[in-house]
Symmetry: C2
Subunit: 417 residues, 2 copies
């Protein structure tokens, strides 16, 4: 970066104005937003972004996945320059908060405005993007998967939000299976992807650090474990004679936590649900289906933890005389962020006088889809009490501005000749 731009800062008031405007769409009485993918409120927010792009004089770009972006072209031969994407998403979880996604989009758009009004010459095109269905009301990380070529027909056939909802949602947005699958971009045209997001955890707040530079997005795997015993009369069957499925499931739940806390420090595990069958007060449970999810920051720990948890489930079933049925539901490997992006963020923080630390992202983001195509990076800003996916989600505006400035200077470091 030339010293010419080192004193540049984003326009805090203008970005706040944008953020306030977009937060109106789907706003809830509790102070959050309710903008599930392709809901009326989400479509309004998308329309607003398109109008903002056009009225600010940027090129508007959309693709078959419904990703929307403002483009500022490289000063070099535009058609041949690779593109640095920055951005986040305007959809929310049902009854969510306004910072998760919304902040990253308005910050990216503000960065483009700074580049535009300062007539900064870049060797890359910069594209400020609103990604489609990051939160997964329909599919989850949909826009990122579509761009990176990781989206397949089977993902659209059996989406987590239900096929009917997906079809109706795509229809409202003028999209289709065919358009979705056509949105893949050639990796050679991509210079990288950078995103600003709230932390969704308490680590920055607790340590009073300004910026978290993401080292990796954790890998995530889910299984359904079924502990199988025998239904019996809960009055006439002695305790010794029971094959009680609840015992294997309960013991697994407690020991899985101990295992992770003791030996897998860069991982987390969750038993989010158990379903009992037949599920009556007076019948010994014959079957407990347990919803298991675990996440790890490194591939090595991810692989070892997966083996250890399955082994634990087998042992706990055996200890209580139960059978075990293991159903693998899916996984994403850990996605390390690029060194180049992390270095650019750290250098930007230093120049801006902002404290920073390296941390992992426990949540999934579109960056993970793009991580094997081009250099990707993310930064987090503190989130009060670590709350997210809730109307109570809140980040101090000063922290939002800090994040946007770090994003701006990282773009300049990566984008200027």
């Amino acid at each position: 970066m030339t010293s010419t731009f080192s004193s540049l800062r984003i326009n805090s008031d203008r970005m706040l104005d944008s953020f306030t405007q977009v937060s109106v769409f789907g706003s809830t009485p509790e102070g959050g937003v309710n903008r599930p993918s392709f809901s009326e409120a989400h479509l309004q927010a998308r329309k607003w972004f398109r109008e903002q792009i056009e009225s600010a004089g940027f090129e508007f770009r959309t693709d078959g996945a419904g990703n929307h972006s403002a483009v500022i072209a490289s000063h070099e031969l535009a058609k041949q320059s690779p593109t640095l994407i920055i951005g986040s998403h305007l959809d929310s979880v049902p009854n969510g908060g306004k910072y998760d996604g919304g902040l990253g989009v308005v910050a990216a758009f503000e960065v483009l405005k700074i580049i535009q009004e300062n007539r900064i010459k870049l060797k890359v095109n910069v594209e400020a993007m609103d990604f489609t269905d990051e939160e997964g009301t329909l599919v989850g990380l949909l826009g990122g998967a579509a761009i990176s070529g990781h989206l397949h027909q089977k993902d659209l056939d059996n989406p987590r939000g239900g096929r009917e909802n997906l079809v109706e949602g795509m229809k409202r947005a003028g999209l289709s299976d065919e358009s979705m699958l056509s949105a893949k971009r050639d990796p050679k045209t991509l210079a990288g992807y950078l995103e600003l997001h709230i932390e969704q955890g308490k680590r920055l707040e607790k340590s009073k650090i300004n910026i978290g530079i993401v080292s990796a997005i954790v890998g995530i795997a889910s299984y359904r474990l079924s502990f199988l015993g025998k239904a019996n009369h809960a009055g006439t069957t002695t305790m010794e004679d029971r094959l009680d499925a609840s015992l294997g499931a309960s013991s697994f739940t407690l020991k899985a936590r101990e295992l992770v806390m003791g030996r897998y420090k860069n991982s987390v595990v969750n038993v989010g649900k158990m379903e009992f069958a037949p599920g009556a007060f007076n019948i010994v449970p014959a079957q407990v289906d347990l919803s298991l999810e675990f996440r790890s920051a490194t591939q090595d720990e991810f692989d070892k933890l997966e083996i250890a948890l399955i082994e634990l489930a087998k042992n706990e079933a055996k200890n209580f005389g139960l059978e075990l049925k293991i159903e693998f539901l899916g996984k994403h490997s850990p996605s390390p962020m690029s060194d180049k992006a992390q270095t650019a963020f750290a250098s930007a923080c230093d120049e801006l006088g902002l404290t920073n630390t390296s941390l992992t992202s426990g949540a999934g983001h579109d960056a993970q889809s793009l991580a094997d195509l081009c250099p990707v990076g993310m930064i987090f800003v503190p989130s009060v009490d670590g709350i997210s996916h809730s109307p109570k989600e809140f980040t101090e505006w000063e922290d939002c501005v800090n994040g946007a400035n770090v994003l701006l200077h990282a773009v300049l470091k990566l984008g200027i000749d």
Copy 2:
């Protein structure tokens, strides 16, 4: 008992014929019966019993609760003699077995036939009864509760099978709330109640003993325990920061079992169901509602176990930083069987050369409603593999005959001058 009758035996072939006939109603391909209260199959079985009573020349009696019985009058001034009721029930659980209830009804009816054809003079009236809705498709132990005056309007307003099903069922049987509540009998008119039933457990089979003489029907209590934590992102929330409701529920489940097996030998405990909220793979469970049931044979142990389990739940909630909500759902105290009835059964076994043992009933029976009104007693016969409430329920016919003979001789001991 006079020696005149000591060589009397029930007519095995005739009883088998009755049992075979009644087992046709609601018979299932797996060899069981599906006769929920007041279902078409149950109404057919009830009609069959009435016809059998009338064609055999007994007085047919019914009451406002729909209990059906054959009556053989005392040779004394019939109107003033108290009545010894014997019997069981013709309803079954959905997709149940044919021995649970059906055996006790046909055995009681056969006992009456033996008394009739041998012109045995009794100081009591004997009534062979089919009790209404013992299994609880609608209310549970309904006929017994109605006779004993333990049935109240609130039981009919909010029955376990749903009010609508109860109203429809009563209508099909020509009954109503008013008739149900009018079925109470004056305890002074009751000489006692005796029932033959299958064990629904493996104790007799394991010990190769012919007859179990029930010392008490266990007390039963149920609670809903809600462990309350905090919903959080299962990826971004550290293990240390979680308030995971599953941990309290799981730990309680394991320790409740240890507690009962270690210190409450005459009790059992069951966690038949847990319900998780919000119940997603990727959200730390905020609430687990646990269905707790426990049973004890003695009042002292029942009371102590109740206190110990509630204390345990509080401690486990506290250990994991959770709140606990305790909802009491109901209980029946343990019902000791009368010494007089137990002595009569034991003496009958000795005369018949049948081995016998004292045991508790882990399941509820109509006898428990009548236990505080008149002397009540129950005997069990072995049940293969302890199976009940299943089409696989099976008892050797020889054991059924043994039970009917013990019932006959106990009736003679209690009923002859």
